[in-house]
């Protein structure tokens, strides 16, 4: 029995973290948040060059054939640096399409096809929006779609939960608290569904687990920053990190986040090994990381005092990353409802 990252997994972590440290500095993130397309394109190109887009695509389809655990490590590193990326969309698309749409999956690996996600229907159907599929034609709107720059296709869920590949849409930006990432309202006007797959609870679980990993990274960054700040900032003639009132806040953050890290690993391992509890664990991970992440985001900001509230330190980018992640693909209550349903704890 071994519940730890392998040598290869640690190397993957190091290489992606090393790249992001150099190429997704706070300066770069600020530029991206301010709409600097060049900065965004540079980061996208660098990440694509690292080969991460095909990480979760099976080897037979030209990908690296790695597992969701490895994907979570990459997503965690992205969250740590609040770097925007099409990685989550590519990985969810790979999960859904590798099953019976091999041509699309292999396109993801070689970069020929760039996927966006329009999956709101799976988690949050709304009156007044929604996509319907009628005789292979998609119509309607999808909210908060995650469409990377240069996307060639989107994976869109219809009101019945089935997913379709489409390459024609019109997009309208949806402004959120997080300006580093773009979200859009997509409209489909009778466009052809190029390929379709049945409703599959695994796609939503994969998306939710990756968001949990992203929050894990962002929250770890906030703890690291809070601890570092508390060791330097002086008041009353001593560093504030020597006051128990401040130390205990840091201890509480670490005490909640450390087991959450193990939960993300365990859920990803369960998904990779087709454990019967895998979907339950992935949903638990999403809901739990949402709660722990929110606690860390608030507490780490408080440890920074007034500076945490300003734009000067840029800490708010992490606060907002975690805030958006909490709601994405369903708020904690919705996700726990899914977990309960998957365990047969909800009366039919």
């Amino acid at each position: 029995m071994e519940f730890a990252l392998s040598e290869d997994q640690r190397m993957l972590q190091d290489s992606i973290s090393g790249f992001l440290k150099d190429n997704a500095s706070l300066d770069t993130i600020r530029k991206i948040a301010d709409g600097n397309a060049e900065a965004k394109a540079g980061l996208d190109a660098g990440l694509a060059e690292m080969g991460i887009m095909g990480l979760y695509v099976p080897e037979a389809m030209g990908g690296s054939g790695l597992g969701l655990l490895e994907a979570c490590l990459v997503q965690e590193a992205l969250g740590y640096t609040v770097a925007p990326s099409g990685f989550l969309a590519a990985t969810v698309a790979a999960d859904l399409l590798a099953k019976d749409q091999a041509t699309y999956a292999s396109g993801i690996a070689d970069g020929e096809k760039v996927f966006g996600l329009a999956l709101t229907e799976l988690a949050s159907r709304r009156d007044g929006s929604g996509v319907t599929a009628d005789n292979g034609r998609l119509s309607g709107t999808s909210l908060l779609a995650d469409v990377p720059t240069g996307a060639t296709h989107v994976l869109v869920a219809d009101t019945s939960g089935a997913c379709h590949v489409a390459s024609g849409w019109s997009a309208k930006p949806m402004r959120t608290i997080d300006r580093t990432r773009t979200f859009q309202e997509l409209a489909f006007d009778g466009v052809a569904a190029e390929a379709s797959t049945q409703s599959d609870p695994s796609a939503l679980a994969v998306a939710r687990l990756l968001v949990a990993a992203d929050t894990l990274g962002a929250a770890q960054a906030m703890i690291d920053k809070a601890v570092e700040y508390a060791k330097e900032r002086k008041q009353f003639g001593r560093v504030i990190g020597s006051f128990q009132a401040v130390k205990h806040l840091c201890a509480e953050m670490a005490a909640k986040l450390e087991p959450a890290r193990a939960l993300v690993w365990h859920a990803a391992y369960a998904m990779d090994t087709k454990d019967p509890e895998a979907l339950v664990m992935a949903n638990l991970a999403k809901a739990h990381l949402a709660e722990v992440g929110t606690f860390v985001a608030k507490t780490a900001t408080e440890v920074h005092g007034g500076m945490g509230f300003t734009d000067l330190l840029g800490l708010h980018y992490w606060f907002k990353r975690i805030g958006v992640n909490r709601q994405l693909f369903g708020s904690p209550e919705q996700v726990r409802q899914t977990a309960a349903e998957l365990q047969g704890l909800v009366a039919a």
Binding site: F3, S242, E333
Partner: protein, 397 residues
């Protein structure tokens, strides 16, 4: 990452399961009261002889003498939990004193104490905390003054479990009142039969006397009872406290309680509706499930680190704090879910689960405080885990 066991360990699991189930008729039940009930002593002997407890303790001291193998120990613990068959004896003698003696005891002490302790024939209590020495354990004042080959001991201990039943005590006493507080303490073993010892039960909020106060008045004990060296008791105690913190916050026990709560919420109805069908209660339940699964995964991480003889770092440091808090919250939800009937306690017709949820809600609060309070745990996590500075000592005036 690999959570499946190799065939060797799967075979070991089956062996353990077979030995337990084939011999379950020998196991004592709740009706076999008393720590030294013959059936309890016989069961303990059986478990030692079959390598199901005292497994890695050398044969010469009465153990089974196996090579340390954490996975096998874990499998044994899991099989006891799974089968629900009476566990081996625990208590502070076995879990804390024996490891300490193995590490630091003299040959005579090992010879005299380890075997009878393992076999349940010698019960111990721990004389650490005092009214003025709780979180600040090194402030112990119980005085041991030399008199020939003996010490004369005067003072008071508190929070002493099993003091009434104990044959012996391992006790922290101040042997050098002039030394710095950590440097004048000795770790001494002596008999609870010694004249001058008075044990008074300390009734707690659960209405039970889980602990006692122990008073020493001119208690004369031999100096040969010192473990390791005179005035080095603080190091000895620290070696032992590591063993205690490992006992609190076991994630498998927490998972078992969580599953009991799920069963309760499926079985019990309120206003014609199963508790589990109440969306607010169910949401709280699943929220706790996330924490339970997280602590279980964290436990796997800690076990892996131990297997590799590495430090588990933060993952190890947070177990006591998070585990005890989580147990308390599980009990709290059970009480809320039971609604008005959740307040019943002790005895009566409508009691659910023998009132154990209220008992746990109170007792677990005791565990949040005992064995190093939550606040002391947070100091440890921030200082050792996050490298934050210690609170500066106030200047002497």
């Amino acid at each position: 990452m690999e959570l499946n066991l190799s065939p060797e360990y799967e075979a070991f699991r089956q062996d353990v399961n077979r030995i337990l189930t084939e011999n379950s008729h020998l196991a004592p039940g709740p009706e076999d009261r008393g720590m030294k009930h013959p059936k309890r002593l016989a069961w303990q002997k059986f478990l030692i002889e079959n390598g199901l407890t005292a497994r890695t303790i050398p044969k010469e001291y009465g153990g089974y003498g196996a090579e340390p193998d954490l996975l096998k120990s874990r499998i044994i613990a899991e099989e006891f939990a799974r089968t629900g068959i009476a566990r081996p004896m625990g208590g502070q003698g076995i879990s804390m004193l024996v490891p300490t003696l193995l590490e630091l005891g003299t040959p005579e002490q090992k010879e005299a104490y380890i075997r009878p302790t393992l076999y349940g024939e010698m019960i111990w209590c721990q004389g650490y905390s005092e009214p003025g020495a709780g979180s600040d354990l090194a402030a112990v004042r119980t005085a041991a003054v030399e008199d020939g080959d003996d010490f004369i001991i005067n003072g008071q201990k508190i929070w002493t479990s099993t003091a009434k039943q104990a044959d012996m005590i391992f006790c922290l006493v101040r042997t050098d009142p002039d030394a710095k507080k950590h440097e004048g303490i000795s770790y001494v073993l002596f008999s609870m039969e010694t004249p001058g010892i008075e044990v008074r039960p300390l009734v707690d909020m659960t209405e039970n006397a889980n602990f006692n106060e122990v008073f020493f008045t001119d208690v004369r004990v031999p100096q040969s009872g010192i473990v390791f060296e005179k005035n080095k008791g603080w190091q000895v105690a620290n070696a032992t406290l590591t063993h205690e913190r490992g006992m609190l916050g076991d994630p498998n026990a927490t998972k078992a309680r969580f599953l009991e709560l799920v069963e309760l919420m499926k079985a019990e109805t309120l206003n014609g509706e199963r508790l589990i069908d109440n969306p607010l209660l169910r949401d709280r339940l699943i929220k706790l499930q996330g924490e339970v699964y997280a602590m279980q995964a964290n436990g796997l991480r800690v076990t892996t680190a131990s297997l590799k003889r590495e430090s588990a770092g933060l993952a190890g440091l947070i177990v006591k704090l998070q585990g005890c808090e989580l147990n308390h919250q599980i009990a709290g939800l059970a009480i809320d879910a039971l609604g008005e009937l959740g307040i019943l306690y002790g005895e009566g017709d409508h009691l659910r689960a023998d009132g154990s949820w209220q008992w746990r809600y109170m007792y677990d609060l005791g565990l949040i405080i005992g064995g190093g309070t939550a606040q002391i745990q947070k100091n440890i996590i921030s200082e050792r885990g996050l490298g934050m500075p210690r609170e500066p000592k106030p200047a002497k005036v």
